[in-house]
């Protein structure tokens, strides 16, 4: 019987030959991941009450990324609990202030096709780009998972998104996702998205993880992309082990049944900007161009990887941000910071007027540095602009690609990045 990729993963994890959408199954979890906000501070008392430890400390990854670095006694205490827990429960895969969990996982070879990854964060979907069922869970679910190594789930239907055409200059995977939030909607709960098509095939893994990351904004359990040579090369370059056979094994059958098929022509897409207070409030950048901003933010798992910083630098190099505007850059990981320092990206950003912040979830999660006051307006390379998310409830957040955020910082108003990139090519 023809099966989708998620059905194949769940059949394997449930120890069954086949599963069908709607089946309630118990699946074995291959990797459990959590951060300082959702992990040890919520698990420890529960595990103690149950009188148990971790089912397999080597399959647990803990990352401190939400309250880093500590800004007050409360956040310091949360980090202290995280560190003590990792030590006492024997968690060797503890990444303390090294970057955002979703970026840490593939940076360190933890993800491979066919896995079931349970993460204590909604953007765990990010790892779906590697052909893994990677889904977010709340703290009690995660406690059960780290105690037992399994969880229940309903086998989800799959929505297939075919993306054809080549992205134009200044248009990115982020723009695809903002358009999809609008056109496909954010209500695909208890379903998975599966991306494919020539545009996805042409993307590197950083671009692909943007699609999977923001599957969360579509409401989906995860955003799957079947592995190919690009996937395997990335895993191996980051210390992971994966068999060549993964490419044939972990893909949907050609005649698999989808709940829905959606086709998008990326070549027809302009840069997108989502207006407050929903990623689905997106439109071509021209619709919002000219709106005044106080702050431009390049950050988060979805928007501050090396490729994202390079996009911002491509616009900003040799230019200065507008007077009165703050440009904040929080690289997604220490490795991103180091690479951006080596290749001149960081210099271009700082000389343009950017302030570089610690790696972590920071202002995107409403924590740490870079929050907004009442009435302030920010354009951000992050994935959510819900009311009250980045500071005061009466602040306004627009979402865009790193190109668009950088161009807006230069103008002090929301701006189309393409003229800045075109100028650059004329000079070069």
């Amino acid at each position: 019987m023809a099966a989708t990729l998620v059905e194949k993963i769940m059949a394997r994890a449930a120890g069954r030959d086949t599963v069908s959408p709607g089946d309630i199954v118990t699946i074995a979890v291959d990797l459990a991941m959590a951060h300082d906000s959702s992990g040890p501070r919520r698990w420890q008392a529960r595990l103690e009450a149950l009188g148990t430890g971790l089912w397999d400390p080597d399959r647990v990854v803990i990352v401190s990324d939400h309250y880093v670095p500590a800004v007050d006694a409360e956040s310091a205490a949360i980090l202290q609990v995280t560190r003590t827990f990792a030590r006492d429960y024997g968690v060797k895969n503890f990444y303390d202030m090294k970057g955002i969990c979703h970026v840490i996982l593939p940076e360190n070879g933890h993800v491979k096709p066919g896995m079931v990854i349970a993460g204590g964060d909604s953007h765990t979907t990010n790892a779906g780009a590697f052909g893994a069922y990677a889904a977010g869970f709340g703290a009690t679910d995660m406690t059960a998972i780290v105690a037992t190594g399994e969880t229940w789930t309903v086998v989800p239907e799959t929505i297939r998104v075919n993306i054809s055409g080549a992205l134009g200059d200044g248009v990115t995977a982020k723009d695809i996702m903002l358009a999809l939030c609008r056109d496909l909607g954010m209500g695909h709960h208890f379903k998975v998205i599966e991306y494919g098509g020539p545009c996805v095939d042409a993307m590197d893994m950083e671009g692909r993880t943007v699609l999977s990351n923001m599957a969360a904004e579509l409401g989906a359990e995860t955003g799957l992309i079947a592995p190919d040579e690009t996937t395997l090369a990335h895993i191996r370059a980051h210390g992971g082990v994966v068999e060549d056979e993964a490419i044939q094994r972990w893909r949907s059958d050609p005649d698999a049944a989808y709940a829905k098929v959606f086709n998008l022509d990326a070549s027809a897409l302009s840069p997108q900007v989502a207006a407050p207070h929903s990623p689905a409030n997106s439109a071509d950048v021209g619709v919002h161009a000219g709106a005044r901003i106080d702050q431009a933010y390049i950050g988060a798992c979805v928007g501050a990887k090396l490729s994202d910083l390079r996009m911002a630098a491509a616009v900003l190099k040799g230019r200065r941000i507008a007077p009165g505007v703050r440009l904040l850059v929080a690289p997604a990981s220490s490795r991103v910071t180091a690479a951006a320092a080596r290749d001149g990206t960081l210099e271009a950003l700082v000389e343009a007027g950017a302030v570089v912040l610690a790696s972590g979830c920071g202002a995107c999660a409403g924590l740490g540095a870079g929050l907004l006051a009442a009435g302030e307006v920010c354009i951000s390379s992050t994935n959510r602009n819900f009311k009250g998310r980045m500071g005061h409830k009466d602040a306004s957040v627009y979402l865009g690609s790193p190109y668009t955020v950088a161009a807006s910082a230069l103008e002090g108003r929301i701006a189309d990045p393409r003229p800045f990139l075109k100028d650059r090519r004329a000079v070069a």
């Binding site: 959702s38 103690e48 009690t140 037992t148 999660a365 500071g391």
Partner: protein, 179 residues
């Protein structure tokens, strides 16, 4: 299990986790955080809700973050059930896991703010006592019904780990290697 009864607090579509548990209050204690529940859309909610009252919403209730505090704050305030046209998956699981029933039901035109509601989970019935109407609600899968009856996932886990012969993993391996 006895039926739940309380007033309806009605909201629209897209009530997200940042509205339910705002980031700026996430470091506070559960009781303090709960005071900020939904304040950006209804400043009176947390102060005026009474034990037993129910949260009623449109589509996509609980979209956004995995933060379980979004569900815990509602329970802390005494909310006895959440009723919505549709739920975000993680929020739905979080509610069930803490023993707060999440019922998929389109309230449009059927439930108004302040209506007295009665939810009988075992019978699969929701009644609006203000209008006298009663509707069937979808039955929960048996494993969820059992979990809710026990009071949530922790109670189920406690039962599982308390079974004779249930091999618990060594709690807190003291002296484990620190490198």
């Amino acid at each position: 299990m006895s039926a739940r009864e309380g007033r309806a607090w009605v909201f629209g579509d897209g009530i997200d986790t940042d509205l339910l548990a705002p980031g700026y209050a996430m470091k506070k204690s559960p009781a303090e955080l709960a005071k900020h529940t939904l304040e950006a859309v209804d400043p009176h909610f947390a102060a005026h809700i009474k034990p037993g009252d129910m949260l009623v919403a449109g589509a996509d209730l609980g979209i956004g973050s995995s933060r379980e505090q979004a569900a815990i704050s509602l329970k802390t305030l005494g909310v006895s059930a959440v009723i919505a046209k549709s739920f975000a998956r993680i929020f739905y699981r979080n509610c069930m896991n803490i023993g707060l029933p999440a019922i998929q039901f389109d309230p449009a035109g059927r439930i108004h703010p302040g209506d007295q509601l009665r939810l009988d989970l075992a019978a699969g019935r929701l009644s609006n006592l203000a209008t006298g109407k009663t509707w069937p609600v979808p039955a929960l899968p048996p494993h969820l019904m059992t979990m809710i009856e026990r009071g949530g996932l922790m109670a189920s886990l406690t039962a599982r780990f308390a079974k004779p012969g249930a091999a618990a993993h060594p709690p807190r391996p003291q002296g484990a290697s620190h490198d």
